[in-house]
Symmetry: C2
Subunit: 803 residues, 2 copies
Amino acid sequence: MATLQDLGVSAFINILGAFVFLLLFAVLRIQPINDRVYFPKLYIAGKRAADHRGARRAINLNLCTYFKFLSWVPGALRMTQTELIHHAGLDSAVYLRIYTLGLKIFLPVMVVALLVLIPVNVSGGTLLNLRKDVMFSDIDKLSISNVSPGSNRFFIHLLMAYVFTFWTCFMLYKEYSNVAFMRLHFLASQKRSADQFTVIVRNIPRVSSHSTSETVDEFFRRNHPDHYLGQQAVYNANRYAKLVKQKERLQNWLDYYQLKFERHPEKRPTGRTGCFGFYGRQVDQIDYHRARISELDKRIASERQRVLNDPKAIMPVSFVTFDSRWGAVVCAQTQQSKNPTQWLTNWAPEPRDVYWQNLAIPFFSLSIRKFLISIAVFALVFFYMIPIAFVQSLANLEGIERVAPFLRPVIEVKVVKSFLQGFLPGLALKLFLYILPTVLMIMSKVEGYVSLSSLERRTASKYYYFMLVNVFLGSIIAGTAFEQLDSFFHDPPSQIPRTIGVAVPMKATFFMTYIMVDGWAGIANEILRVKPLVIYHLKNMFIVKTERDRERAMDPRSISLGENLPSLQLYFLLGLVYAVVTPILLPFIIVFFAFAYLVYRHQIINVYNQEYESAAAFWPQVHSRIIASLLISHVTLFGLMSTMKAAYSTPLLIFLPLLTIWFHKYCKSRFEPAFRKYPLEEAMEKDRMEHASEPSLNLKTYLANAYLHPIFQMFEQEDQKEEATIEVRIDKSEHQQQQQHVRSSHSQYEEETSAQTHCHHEERTSSQYQYQYQHQYEYQHEETHMRSEQSPPHFVYHPGVEH
Amino acid sequence: MATLQDLGVSAFINILGAFVFLLLFAVLRIQPINDRVYFPKLYIAGKRAADHRGARRAINLNLCTYFKFLSWVPGALRMTQTELIHHAGLDSAVYLRIYTLGLKIFLPVMVVALLVLIPVNVSGGTLLNLRKDVMFSDIDKLSISNVSPGSNRFFIHLLMAYVFTFWTCFMLYKEYSNVAFMRLHFLASQKRSADQFTVIVRNIPRVSSHSTSETVDEFFRRNHPDHYLGQQAVYNANRYAKLVKQKERLQNWLDYYQLKFERHPEKRPTGRTGCFGFYGRQVDQIDYHRARISELDKRIASERQRVLNDPKAIMPVSFVTFDSRWGAVVCAQTQQSKNPTQWLTNWAPEPRDVYWQNLAIPFFSLSIRKFLISIAVFALVFFYMIPIAFVQSLANLEGIERVAPFLRPVIEVKVVKSFLQGFLPGLALKLFLYILPTVLMIMSKVEGYVSLSSLERRTASKYYYFMLVNVFLGSIIAGTAFEQLDSFFHDPPSQIPRTIGVAVPMKATFFMTYIMVDGWAGIANEILRVKPLVIYHLKNMFIVKTERDRERAMDPRSISLGENLPSLQLYFLLGLVYAVVTPILLPFIIVFFAFAYLVYRHQIINVYNQEYESAAAFWPQVHSRIIASLLISHVTLFGLMSTMKAAYSTPLLIFLPLLTIWFHKYCKSRFEPAFRKYPLEEAMEKDRMEHASEPSLNLKTYLANAYLHPIFQMFEQEDQKEEATIEVRIDKSEHQQQQQHVRSSHSQYEEETSAQTHCHHEERTSSQYQYQYQHQYEYQHEETHMRSEQSPPHFVYHPGVEH
């Protein structure tokens, strides 16, 4: 049990830590050399030119700027929400609303709780008189534990539970309604984009004498005769993409060695070919890499030939386009075939958002994968300690000495030995927690979701379960998750809320410390961007040769919803659980939400560049997790009350979870369809407006190749680079305005640097989609498609369905 | 613990009882006077004329026929499934498949279980040696209880559990696939009907300056410009229908008194006006009822005027028709409006199936109703003993004596007193169980479902929960459901399967008796139709004057899915739970399924006349309940094994429920859409075929007034009776062929008797829909609609959207 003083010390340390981080950030961010680490989004959005503040000068010598170490705050707050949506997309803007929602819920709750509950608890005074200095700390005097069992004061706590629940639900309802409105408004005000007209069709059945494209074409011409426009076949280019990636890695090394050679022309770099340069024959690195790249080039070319010509490389998936949004909406929302496992249609994710590897998974396999992964997640959540304990048992000092006997003298030094013995067991756990999000993401990928946005959402929900069980329950009930599971089976259900309820007030100080360490310090760390900073400077040092390389070394990343949503949801959980029990925890949470809001607003404006735009598709998850937190808080209170001899509480409390569940169901049916479906009314209106403003629009040209696998677009691009450059400039200026808030970062710097050398063009990874840029000029050079191997494969149009 | 002998006696009594019922049935069914009780469906289907077997002769004097008392069996089996679908509809045919599914699952299981498990159990022999005659009966020697704890023989039981589960899943899969195919085939081969082109639209928002019809019209013309045809507004005629019903009741009494007067012309019937004729002034009954009917006629006419002219009587619901099935399917499956609680579209139930009273419930109210009813069902299932105990405490002898002191001398007689004391407490419970299905149906109606078929399905699932908790668990774990609930909360979860598992083998004899009493004897009772028999003869005696009245007195009823499905599902549950534990129970279940199959086949062919056709929409429920039974059987086995010291069973058994859950999920996604949605492919094909065969079809005329409230159709009908008669005869002959298997019973006898007196036309209840008959001639008499008050209200067509 920590005393108030302990807590004060902890708070001081953490505030100091955060302050140091902020100070460091203030210093580092004004150094021109770090400009691309701290303001990449501005570069991408074209708001900052390459020579901003004279990038040549590496160090800022203007002393004045050093004193304004919080000067980033007003800048972060200045942008309005509308501008923010334009600048960073709806996902980011709505993500920030989670923080404001936290503030909106917890600020009034805190005021009421501090004014009402703290006096009630303090004057309850059992602990004050009874066993004064043994078990209970000062914090406990402010909590519900201080009220004597059987007291009538618990009525006030019950009343507060009702008030807080109603307030939370009210705010949730308002926010859900707001976000749903913002989403619909965003979709409605979005300019024409390919995904509005496109439906992804999966599990296309194989018809013996027909190719997949023919089957698709026939099916949709028959069943959507009035609106079907065309289709884009999907190629299985996974092996091809792998080769391209391999080449890119080699190219990086080649760049590195060439730079090294340029700097020290006296000595050609040499090395061994084997793993990590430990063994293998001695070679000249530049020649060796050049040879391997040219060899890979050949393999890539032949693989590409194979993909384009082999009918087996066409996957039973297709992007089908329609001549109106109405037609696409209808096709996406209806069942096509008698067999509901075939011809599955869904609204296509935007091209940037497609996860190409998963498109071809058949339905049956999908259902098995989901089943297996849900078992695996369950096992991971509850039994993750088993493999870690196993690794820990291996990774002891004797084990290391056996594997690497040459380390023995070092290990046997007493100081080192004791350090290692304390450190090693924790290492496996730390490592596991570090790779956990990646593992969960891989699991989600195995599950077979076809868009990056849904992958992130699935990862987030898996991570949430892990946090709930291992951080929240694991901290409250001592013992591993496995032991908890065991006790869930062998204790009566009425005992479980009781166990949790009793432990909750006792763990308040722990969670306060947790909020300070993980929340406050974590956020300060977030703004400093240590890892990208280091990586950027390493890249800058070793492989950056041109300004364009520097662009590429800049790694803005995007908000990692998979990790951030669950931890945010954990804070909501803590706030709601402790609001009635130990309200003194609430200020800590408020500080976290406020501080995190500022930092993320700054980061979203200046740093992050979203990979895709899902139009706030994650909100239903946020909403239902907060509802789940409410329910958990009710169960906790239930258990706590039952140990406090407040027998009247049972009938009074039972309505709280019931009403909450009803509220959730109502919200679900009221708002969730806005996140899953696109209403016909909206589609029709947008079609009509567009038709009125642009009656002669050629949609076919517009939609052509929007959903071509990015790897093929790369080739097109490379081949047509020179001839296309001029047209692109002209075309894009118009296109740019239309697509401002959804466009990919890459189309932007493509434009700026397209006249430069293009020796790096092959290096793009498959996640860099230049689709908008691409389809703009591809069809202005029809003649190039006559060359069979470079033509965009299988784009089938039917003169019969011309409109 | 019953011995084999006790069970034998019980079986003998029940078999004898069933035999007596069958004998009675054999005698009664060949009496011409009962012909309309035992063969109403044949009358309705036109396969038996009114003078069949000389109905004037009341008693069958041909002695030969008395000896062939099982002669109905071959007749019941002779019809093929296709004929059955034609004769009685798909619902009935698929209902019978539940019984054959039971046979298909349990026959092989029984054979294997008897051959493998019985020898294993018998030779296990613990009980044979140990405490020979105390606790365990002969039945137990054949069950798993006979195997000594910790024996390796349990491996065989585990293996059998896997084999039985796989076999059950295999049969379920095959059957689901069959039924889904039958449903799609049935829908595809169905001739043109109004529901194929119609979508029910609920929660139409009120627009201030527009009428509902205008709003609907504008909305659909805007959002479905290519396919929208027209709409049928829905009137709030609930009060009107109530008046009509009231008049019908009075008319019945008038008929009764008139008949009485005709038979005894010397004495005019008189009586008091008050309740049950106990008080009030003395009146001449014929004059009194005539006066009241004519008064009601006036009120009905004015109410009708009000409904037709008051814009507030138009409900925010509409039946919207499209010019193709494709258009209707698209509208039914897509989201129309930004606000997902408005403009809710669903595939319209067929007109006979519509539950008019629930159409106008707004979305918010609906969500509250569902929530409240689910709480009410929970309370009903677990706490139903509380009100019954309360009634029982009131309904004691002292209470009766206090209320009715004049009964005191009778009650105080010793024999009567002891009889009442034994009888009264049970009476409340019996009464409750008797009205339970009605109560559950009322609950489902409050929930707000809009079709009779969904109401029956919801009632079935509520009844299932009641049976599961109170019959299955209630018999296994002694005590009321409330006590069970209490123990569920206070026992550890691992204890519950154990408690059930231990008790299951001990209750085997109880359930065998249950199957014999409820199953065998119940089915024999079903074929005898005691209640309809009595009611028919009472009606025949008191109010039947003409042959048409006799038609009306005939009450074929329909299969009550709400009661029958849950009890069938209970038998599946018993069979699956006992298959491994006490396989000797299986033959009892097999006998039940076989016997019930025969009886229901006979009843469906000769008696039942389905009110509506839902095309086997109940199958997904049947499927998932059997899956639930499988899971319950796994849990039981789990608990049983854990008490048998078979520790290895836990890891071996855990996969069984997991695999079953996966199987269920797969089946759900593979087949359920076929029961919820109508694939576009099918709709398009049917449209195309129809267009090819009847290019000049006028759909508007065809669809006009199909969904007019039945109460208005009645009026039309009455007014136009004479003029329409001839055309109807001509028209219907063609129409009849088209609609043979979906047509309403009433259109049939309408035809036969239309030339007769029509003084009873007003008496139809709102559940008797003559829609098909109606819309056929309504539009051949366009001129009658010029008379404003008789015109079908608000049928809006737009010349602009002519196709």
